[in-house]
Amino acid sequence: SQKIEQNSEALNIQEGKTATLTCNYTNYSPAYLQWYRQDPGRGPVFLLLIRENEKEKRKERLKVTFDTTLKQSLFHITASQPADSATYLCALPTFYQKVTFGTGTKLQVIP
């Protein structure tokens, strides 16, 4: 089965800097990969999907890359703000209509 690794340690960065979060997977390369944001005590919220034939995807201050050779996706938040503080989860498709989620990386943006 697919194993997903996200840095379990919290990432602290200064406001205005670019945050970079990593999602590594170990087995087959998926056709796409999703990123979600989760605030404490709330359900995850979908942010972006990137397909295997897309090297990069952008949405406002968010940028996702997908390197099937390295089996890695990077999630960037540029000009980070305290409101970006949350846990970010990556998710990979497994079997029919289902995904497996990583454990997430907690991002703290310090004013």
């Binding site: 379990s8 005590g41 359900g43 979908f46 454990t103």
Partner: protein, 114 residues
């Protein structure tokens, strides 16, 4: 606006009780999911339903059952609650697509079994 609602935000039950967690979505989605989320373990799939009356076991179905009698409603049942079922329970739904659609989550139910 897309919406997934769950019947309770917080629930406290005693060991051995039968517990019902309800989830309703208003997006006409075919797929519905039940997850539990525990610190350090992330989101784990309990059950999945891709259509009315259809269900599939996820990664951790033991001690749980589900019911989907209507398209918009997916219920999770703990037949006899145990303390190791204390957790955050999250319901989600998605459109049936050729790939995997984005999942829309409810606010979660924090269940404590004493």
């Amino acid at each position: 606006d897309v919406k997934v609602t769950q019947s309770s935000r917080y629930l406290v039950k005693r060991t051995g009780e039968k517990v019902f967690l309800e989830c309703v979505q208003d997006m006409d989605h075919e797929n519905m999911f039940w997850y539990r989320q525990d610190p350090g373990l992330g989101l784990r799939l309990i059950y999945f339903s891709y259509d009315v009356k259809m269900k599939e076991k996820g990664d951790i179905p033991e001690g749980y059952s589900v019911s989907r009698e209507k398209k918009e409603r997916f219920s999770l049942i703990l037949e006899s609650a145990s303390t190791n079922q204390t957790s955050m329970y999250l319901c989600a739904s998605s459109l049936r697509t050729s790939g995997v659609g984005e999942q829309y989550f409810g606010p979660g139910t924090r269940l404590t079994v004493t």
